[in-house]
């Protein structure tokens, strides 16, 4: 893995010298902030109701964790789904289109170094993006003590979820030289992994159980509520490794004699 660092650094330079990273982060923050404001408004509305009812009704919803943070993290996770294709689409597609892949494949770089270098570079950009939402917690902290457990598990969940999304985006990008196709394909695949959870709903049929297990957001719910479950961690990690493995196979297929 000696050439992992150069590939990683090159990818980072590419991201931050083109507008795509800045644009994606800005759009993400804009939308996330709107959701944060809505959540705060909702919370204060509930507070008034609680006061009006002389602390009889809805008192449990005043809990900062469930009343605000869980909503916040779930909403951020959905926005991530919409933004992620923009971060991953160019990774392999652009190199194929411009022909720089010919350099990458003829330098002494292993396929694994190439894939991990790209995966980790996008993950870094993503982590920066997610870190930009930390001021929301600071705003809350100004008024109320913060349940740090939920904050920790929420961000851990977001990082795991993002890592999984990135691996899928890289995989789709390795299949085509067209960035638009890569973006639409990634978006479509992520939506599928979301929708199957909605289809399953609360049904107790075995097929519904399976769909719920495969669904990419159903594993995020407990993180958002402050519960770190190894099964969810295992899900995101195996999801990621599966697609990283797939990408490696796609790259390897060029070496088959034809």
């Amino acid at each position: 893995m000696k050439n992992l660092t150069p590939v990683y650094l090159k990818e980072m330079r590419s991201y931050f010298s083109s507008p795509i990273a800045y644009l994606a982060i800005t759009m993400f923050l804009l939308i996330a902030s709107i959701f944060f404001i809505l959540i705060v408004k909702q919370y204060s509305a509930v507070s008034f109701e609680v006061i009006r009812s002389n602390f009889q009704l809805k008192i449990d919803q005043l809990n900062i964790g469930e009343g605000m943070l869980a909503h916040l993290y779930s909403n951020i996770a959905v926005i991530v789904l919409f933004m992620m294709p923009a971060l991953t689409m160019k990774s392999f597609s652009d190199e194929k289109k411009t022909g720089t892949i010919e350099l990458m494949f003829t330098y002494p770089i292993k396929d694994s170094e190439l894939v991990w270098g790209k995966q980790l570079a996008i993950f870094t950009v993503y982590a920066v993006m997610i870190a930009c939402t930390l001021p929301y917690e600071l705003i809350i902290l100004y008024f109320k003590p913060l349940p740090l457990g939920i904050v920790f598990s929420g961000y851990l969940g977001l990082l795991l979820l993002g890592f999984a999304f990135i691996s899928l985006g890289l995989f789709v990008s390795s299949l085509t030289e067209n960035q638009i196709i890569a973006a639409v394909g990634t978006f479509g695949a992520l939506m599928m992994f979301w929708v199957i959870g909605l289809v399953a709903g609360d049904s107790t049929m075995p097929i519904a159980e399976i769909l719920r297990y495969l669904s990419i957001f159903s594993h995020f719910e407990s993180f958002a509520m402050g519960v770190i479950d190894t099964r969810d961690i295992v899900y995101y990690l195996s999801f990621s490794l599966l697609f990283i493995f797939g990408t490696l196979r796609v790259l390897e297929s060029r070496r088959y004699r034809a």
Partner: protein
Amino acid sequence: MIEVKSLTKSYGNVNALDGITFSAQKGEILGFLGPNGAGKTTTMRIITCFMPASSGKAMVAGFDCMEEPMEVKRRIGYLPESAPIYRELKVAEFLDFVGRVRDLKGALKVKKIAEVMEQTGISDVQAKLISTLSKGYRQRVGLAQALLSEPPVLILDEPTEGLDPKQIVEIREVIKNLAVGNRTVILSSHILPEVSKLCDRVVIINKGKIVAEDSPSNLASKNQGNLSIELCLQGDIDELRNFLQSTRGLLAVRTVDPSHPTEHRFVVEVDKGIDIRRELSTAIVDKGFGLLEMKLKKLSLEDVFVNLVTKEKAEEEE
């Protein structure tokens, strides 16, 4: 240093390479010459381990391109066709990346990058984004990345493409100085004078086959036994061609630029020993054709190239 044995490559049902065999020694500059679509790029891509051959074998420094690609890649500096490079990076950043990938470190890396930028004349643009460079300068950056680690084998696909005449001379000088010591250089080109000036040996490829392989001077002198006569004649083109082909003493007949409606140019090859100009001119006039021009010339490498390539075509049609 480089051994290529009966290489074939097919893309679907297109046979791009059809049994290519050649070798290149240490300290040699080998030129690949061939018309568009001949298979030059395909051959280079196989040697550089960018893609596998359909069958056959390529070896670099004793390592098989299929079996030990990493060892091969470590020893090759490669300039792909039309020099693809990262447009969003600065020249110095890009070379820094290449240096790291090529195992250069610290002060040595800095020194080598400075040297190669000097050599290819890009020191002035090192802080510029590659996307803002002109095509010629991008080509130079492409050359710089290939040279950076001083690899024992250099593979350059049309290295002077897109350069202005002054730059071409400079870059040729750079390439000429590359084959010092034990280094092997393979370059492809459409430009014949370039190949004959730079290369120790030329491989002429057409339609995936090697049609000739020798030193530029030998290639030309092998055909020194023959001279060519350029003719400009008036008359029906088919009749003219039939007439020339049936005339004794003419070894090969080639039509040049058949665009003019009534004047037709031909190049015919004749044996050096006999001067048949007098008989030929009489014969032409006797047949009632117009003889507008007749010029004797020696075969250049260009004629050899065109002859070899067109001869192949004629044989195929038969």
